[in-house]
C-alpha cells in the first residue's frame, strides 16, 4: 500500500465559487478513513500546481478567474504531466470547460483550453442552465448508481472524438448539446457539470474515482457518516425524479 497520498485542490481561490472545494475534503477524508496518510494541498497562483500528486480536484468559478486559471495551467502543464503518471482528476463546470479544447472567455470570444478532454464549450444563447441535474452512468462505472447534483452554467459542451460522456441526463441539461449527456471521461480524468459538491451527493462515485488510481478499496466503517450520505442520496434522487 502506498505510504502517502497527495491530493491537490487546484486553484480554489479562482475556481471555488460553487462549493466544489468540498470534493477535495471528501476525497482526503475517505482516504484517511481507510488508513491512508493524506497530504491535502491547496495550490494557488503563487505556490503553483505540483505534478507529482495522486488526485486533482478542480471546481467551478466566475468567467474572469476561469480564464486566468486556464492561462496559468497552460504554462507548465502540470495536470497533463500528472495524468501521464497515472493520477486521477475530477473537473467540475468551469474547471471542466477549461480542460477541453476551447471555451468562452469573459469577452465572449473563444479561448484555447488545455485539450485534456476532447470537447469544445460554446455559449448557450438560451436561458442559463440552473437546477437539479440527474446523470445515469449506466454500466460504465461499476458500483456507481444514478447520480445527482446541481448545475449552474451558460455553457454548451460538444464532445469530440475520444472522450465519452459521464452519463445520460435524466433531469436537467448537463452538456446541453445534441443527445442529452453530461460531462466527459478520458482515462482517469472525469469532467461534469454537477455541483453539490458532487462527491457529497454521490459517495459511491467518489469511491469509484479513488479506485481508478488505487484499485480495490474496502468499504468505510464510519456508520454515522455513511448513513448521512445515504439519506442525502436517496432524499435528493427521490425528490428530483418525482418533480
Amino acid at each position: 500500500m502506498k505510504e502517502k497520498i497527495k491530493v491537490v485542490s487546484v486553484l480554489p481561490n479562482l475556481l471555488g465559487t460553487y462549493g466544489d472545494s468540498g470534493n477535495a475534503v471528501i476525497v482526503s477524508k475517505r482516504l484517511a478513513l481507510r488508513g491512508f496518510k493524506v497530504d491535502l494541498v491547496h495550490a494557488d497562483l503563487r505556490s503553483g500546481v505540483p505534478s507529482d500528486a495522486d488526485f486533482y480536484l478542480i471546481g467551478g468559478g466566475e468567467d474572469g478567474p476561469q480564464s486566468r486559471a486556464a492561462e496559468f495551467l497552460a504554462i507548465d502543464t502540470p495536470l497533463e504531466r500528472a495524468l501521464d503518471k497515472g493520477a486521477g482528476l475530477l473537473a467540475v463546470c468551469a474547471g471542466f470547460q477549461i480542460l477541453g479544447r476551447s471555451f468562452i472567455g469573459p469577452d465572449m470570444a473563444p479561448r484555447n483550453g488545455l485539450g485534456i478532454f476532447g470537447c469544445r464549450t460554446h455559449r448557450f444563447e438560451g436561458p442559463r442552465s440552473v437546477g437539479e441535474l440527474v446523470v445515469d452512468p449506466g454500466d460504465a462505472m461499476p458500483g456507481v448508481p444514478m447520480m445527482t447534483g446541481y448545475e449552474n452554467h451558460q455553457g454548451i459542451t460538444e464532445l469530440l472524438d475520444g472522450t465519452r460522456p459521464l452519463g445520460i441526463v435524466r433531469a436537467g441539461n448537463g452538456n446541453n448539446f445534441g443527445p442529452q449527456v453530461d460531462g466527459g471521461v478520458i482515462g482517469r480524468a472525469i469532467g461534469t457539470y454537477m455541483h453539490g459538491p458532487v462527491f457529497a451527493r454521490n459517495p459511491k462515485f467518489c469511491d469509484y474515482f479513488l479506485s481508478l488510481v488505487l484499485g480495490h478499496l474496502d468499504p468505510i466503517r464510519d456508520e454515522g457518516l455513511e448513513n448521512s450520505h445515504n439519506r442525502l442520496y436517496f432524499e435528493r434522487i427521490n425528490q428530483v425524479l418525482m418533480e
Binding site: L14, G16, D20, G22, D63, G64, R68, H195, L225, S228
Partner: protein
C-alpha cells in the same frame, strides 16, 4: 398618470397591505408594492420628489446597518425607511406610499437596497449617499456573480457624480466599485470571507492580503481608511467614539462604523448618534433572545458563508447550536455553499442539524468532525437541547419559519385563522 389615478393606486396598495398584515401571511410590502408598480409605474420617482435618500447595499448586513443608521439619524431627521427589509423596487415603492411628509428640509429616506437593484432604484430616487458594505457569494442561482454586480455599481456611480459614497475599504470588490465615485469616505469595516476577494477585479491576478491591508501587483490596493474600528471604539478622522451596542458581535461594531460614516457626511452629532444606536437590541427578529421551555434562545440569521463567519463570533461558549438549512427560492436552491463554511468551529458543542436540507448539513458536519443529531424540526431540536443557552442559526426561510411558529402562525390554514383570531379578539 393623473394625480387622481395615482391616488387610487396608492389607496389600493394600502388596502392590500393591511389585509396581508392582518392575515399574518407576510410583512405587507411585497404584494401591494407589486400591484402599486403595475398601476403606477413611476411611483418611486413620483413619490420621492425633494426627499433626499441614503441607500445601503451589499451582500450581508444591509438590514442591520439600515436599522442602526435609521436610529442614528432619527434625532435629526424625519426618516422614511423600509423597516421590514423589503429591499427591491416593490418594497421601496411601498415604503414611499406609507411616508408621512413633515417639515421641509427635515425629511430623509434611509433604504436598504438589494445589491442587484441598486443602480435602478438609485437612479429613480434623489440619492445623496450610498453605503457599500461588502460583496460575496449568495444565492448564486438567482443573483449574478459578484464581479458582475461590482461592475454595475461602478457604472451607476460614474453616471451619478453628485453621490457621496461611504464604502468598506477592506473589500476589494467594493473598492473597485466605489473608485468610480467622485467622493468617498472609506471605512475599515473588515472582511471575514476572502474566497470572493482573491481574484483582482482590475487585472485578474491574485490579491495579497496582509494585516495592514491588501494589494495587487497591478497597483490596485486598499485605500487608507477615514474611519477605523478597534474593538468597541470607532475612530472617525482620528476622533474616538465609544460604542456600547446591545447587538452582539464585532461585525455590528463595524456596521455601526458605516452608520457613523453616514452621520459624518450629513453633519449629525456623532456622540448622540452612538447613544441612539446602543438602544437597538434586535433587528426584524434577529439577535433577539426568546425563552422556549426553559431554554434561552438567541435567534440568529445567516444566509451564506460570509454571514456564518460572523455568527461564530456570537455563539456563546456554553451554548448548544441548532442549525436549520432550507433551500427555497429566497434561500438559493443550491446549498453547496455549506462546504465554504468552516463548521469545524462547532467541534465539541452540542449541535443539531435541522431544516429541509438537514442531510446536506449533516454530511458537511461529518467531514468537519462535528458530532451532531439530525432533527428536521428546529423547534423540537431546541426543546431537546441539553443546555439552557441555545443559539439558533437559520438561513432565510428556516429563520422566518421558526419566527412565525413562535408567533403562533405555523403557516397552515389553521394557524392562519388562529393568528387572525388573536389579532381580532386577543
Amino acid at each position: 398618470m393623473r394625480k387622481a389615478e395615482a391616488r387610487v393606486a396608492i389607496a389600493g396598495a394600502q388596502l392590500v397591505s393591511s389585509l396581508v398584515r392582518s392575515l399574518g401571511i407576510g410583512e405587507g410590502a411585497a404584494l401591494p408594492g407589486r400591484i402599486l408598480i403595475r398601476l403606477y409605474p413611476e411611483v418611486i420617482s413620483g413619490l420621492s420628489k425633494s426627499l433626499p435618500a441614503v441607500l445601503i447595499s451589499g451582500t450581508n448586513a444591509k438590514t442591520t446597518t439600515t436599522a442602526l443608521t435609521r436610529e442614528a439619524l432619527s434625532g435629526s431627521f424625519n426618516v422614511t425607511s423600509n423597516i421590514t427589509g423589503a429591499n427591491m423596487d416593490t418594497g421601496i415603492a411601498f415604503s414611499l406610499v406609507a411616508r408621512k411628509v413633515t417639515a421641509v428640509g427635515k425629511d430623509l429616506a434611509v433604504f436598504e437596497v438589494d445589491e442587484a437593484y441598486l443602480p435602478d432604484i438609485g437612479s429613480k430616487l434623489e440619492t445623496k449617499i450610498v453605503a457599500l458594505l461588502n460583496l460575496s457569494r449568495d444565492q448564486l442561482d438567482r443573483v449574478s456573480e459578484t464581479r458582475m454586480t461590482a461592475s454595475k455599481w461602478s457604472s451607476f456611480l460614474k453616471l451619478n457624480p453628485h453621490i457621496t459614497v461611504v464604502a468598506n475599504c477592506d473589500d476589494p470588490l467594493v473598492v473597485f466599485a466605489a473608485q468610480s465615485a467622485s467622493e468617498v469616505l472609506w471605512v475599515s469595516a473588515g472582511l471575514n470571507f476572502f474566497l470572493d476577494a482573491y481574484s483582482c477585479p482590475v487585472c485578474g491576478g491574485e490579491i495579497d492580503f496582509s494585516d495592514s491591508g491588501w494589494r495587487c501587483r497591478c497597483g490596485f490596493s486598499r485605500p487608507s481608511p477615514d474611519i477605523e474600528v478597534s474593538r468597541n471604539t470607532v475612530s472617525v478622522f482620528g476622533r474616538p467614539i465609544e460604542m456600547d451596542l446591545s447587538l452582539p458581535g464585532q461585525c455590528n461594531v463595524a456596521n455601526s462604523a458605516i452608520a457613523l460614516g453616514i452621520c459624518q457626511v450629513l453633519d449629525v452629532d456623532l456622540d448622540s448618534a452612538a447613544r441612539r444606536m446602543s438602544t437597538i437590541s434586535e433587528v426584524a427578529g434577529r439577535y433577539k433572545r426568546v425563552s422556549i421551555d426553559g431554554h434561552e434562545v438567541r435567534m440568529l440569521l445567516s444566509k451564506n458563508p460570509a454571514g456564518w463567519v460572523e455568527v461564530f463570533d456570537m455563539v456563546g461558549d456554553d451554548s448548544s447550536v441548532v442549525v436549520a438549512i432550507n433551500a427555497q427560492l429566497a434561500d438559493g436552491k443550491d446549498p453547496s455553499w455549506l462546504w465554504d463554511v468552516p463548521f469545524e468551529f462547532l467541534k465539541g458543542k452540542e449541535v443539531f442539524a435541522c431544516g429541509e436540507r438537514a442531510y446536506d448539513l449533516s454530511v458537511r458536519l461529518h467531514y468537519a468532525e462535528v458530532s451532531h443529531v439530525v432533527e428536521k424540526d428546529s423547534l423540537a431540536a431546541i426543546r431537546a437541547c441539553g443546555t439552557r443557552d441555545v443559539s439558533f442559526v437559520g438561513n432565510y426561510t428556516s429563520f422566518q419559519e421558526l419566527r412565525n411558529r413562535l408567533n403562533g402562525n405555523d403557516g397552515s390554514l389553521v394557524g392562519l385563522i388562529r393568528s387572525l383570531g388573536n389579532r381580532v379578539f386577543g
